[in-house]
Point group: C2
Chain length 286, copies 2
């Protein structure tokens, strides 16, 4: 009997229960679906797919333009035509080479600011570009100067390219930040989304040595095969993504660990808004 | 006579004097030579040359190790073996595949901090990782928490790779920051230099999807043909670079313009230490 008990104990030891989740790990309920009409899929040559989460609540007019252009297949056959090291990759159709899609708002309102600074998680320390920053309930990085509020230009943020004048762009030409965060674009450009998967297909493109990183030769450009809204793709092949909700104790524990990591790492007491992990995953297949 | 004067005036108008330099532009005297023994040249396959300014005053033991390894040709035939998107590219020889060079200090002192926070240009606003930051007299980005001081991990900074333990690395394996600034490495890793030219040959390498960005297949690695100190190269082919001195009114005007750009751009009142342009140029041929 004693030996039988010993054997049972050994068997139990051989199949331990799964480890308890860490305080900073997401639980299933933390994963929130990105709606199909807020997910843009850009396919580059070589079936390299870039997934962009759109920000319709923050930049509604620009995002509606983008939806219309995607539905019309307007970007198909355009290219990534600018890659400037440490700065941005830029793509789409410019007025010089493609007529604007009829029916879009050619000059949207600026949409450089958002309605309110209302984070569900506020960071401990501020930064050189704002007096406070944090994460909104729907998972976007936001900042304020105490008066206005805006989305922050971090790595993989997607903004609307425009000319040197502060007029808006329509959304026909977009860019993403491929190096150091581009916070000096905050409040000066419309931010319409962020790349949630496939960023490496843009960040690893060859840099152009020409002025501002525009490719000099057409053959250097990376062809865009198509840009589609997930909502417009066949259900069978439609991609689904989820973001991690920020307004809970697990997310707070994650950020606390970033701001003050456990020894032997020396913590610096804070973390920059652009270093906050805004996790996204492909929706698990049930 | 009147017509002769008019002709002279017309000729003068046709060849106007060069425009007065802007208040934020460097003058010739601002360019300071980087000493030959503080410039490292890494040549990748395809004659892609990466130039690294070393930081011997900030990390003397690590830099002396690096000089010895370069003199011995120790890196020749190693590779860039890790490229993690938004994080780092890493290269050199690991203990697993190459015996350490005899005569180097296998376990240098940490050199994670520097002697003093003594900027010649101090930034207006602090950030999430320090209470003050600025640029040292010899052109390095530095920060402090009011007690210690350190070099900041910005885009293109070069650090010494090490294991998970806080022990130091020898310098045989190095990394550079290819995405968002990696400030959480501040005070936890030895920073030994920064890439001053050729960054695009590391930042545009294909990303690895494997854990931590290590290439899974040997053939994915980017071969390193040689790493040499400029001082050890033949005088006829030796490269020369200069950095822009920060301690003067022109540099201050440059940063003031970053912190508060002229309208119509909306200024945010500050600039992050990793956004401060630390300009470097190839020494002009006389």
């Amino acid at each position: 009997m004693l030996s039988a008990i010993a054997l049972l104990a050994a068997a139990a030891a051989a199949t331990p229960p799964p480890p308890a989740p860490k305080a900073w790990e997401a639980v299933e309920a933390d994963w929130v679906a990105i709606p199909d009409d807020e997910l843009l899929v850009m396919t580059l040559a070589g079936d390299r797919r870039v997934f962009i989460r759109l920000a319709p609540r923050q930049a509604p007019v620009h995002v509606e333009n983008i939806r219309k252009m995607a539905r019309a297949g307007w970007w198909d056959g355009t290219s990534v035509y600018r890659v400037q090291d440490g700065w941005v990759a830029q793509w789409g159709g410019g007025a010089a080479d493609k007529a604007e899609l009829p029916g879009i708002v050619a000059q949207p309102p600026a949409e450089y600011d958002i309605a309110a600074f209302d984070p569900v998680h506020r960071l401990t320390r501020s930064d050189a570009y704002s007096t406070a920053s944090g994460v909104s309930a729907d998972g976007w990085p936001i900042a304020t100067d105490g008066k206005a509020a805006w989305l922050t230009h971090c790595y993989a943020s997607v903004g609307v390219a425009r000319g040197a004048d502060p007029d808006t762009g329509s959304g026909a030409e977009l860019f993403t930040v491929i190096g150091q965060a581009a916070r000096r674009l905050d409040r000066n450009y419309a931010m319409v989304g962020r790349i949630v998967a496939g960023m490496e297909y843009l960040s690893a493109l060859p840099r152009s040595s020409a002025e501002m990183g525009f490719y000099e030769k057409a053959q250097d450009r990376a062809p865009i095969l198509s840009v589609r809204l997930a909502a417009d793709m066949p259900a069978a092949t439609r991609p689904h993504y989820q973001y991690r909700a920020p307004g809970n104790a697990r997310f707070s524990a994650l950020i606390a660990r970033k701001e003050n990591p456990p020894p032997p790492t020396i913590g610096l007491g804070g973390a920059d808004i652009c270093d906050i992990p805004l996790e996204v995953r492909a929706t698990p297949v049930k």
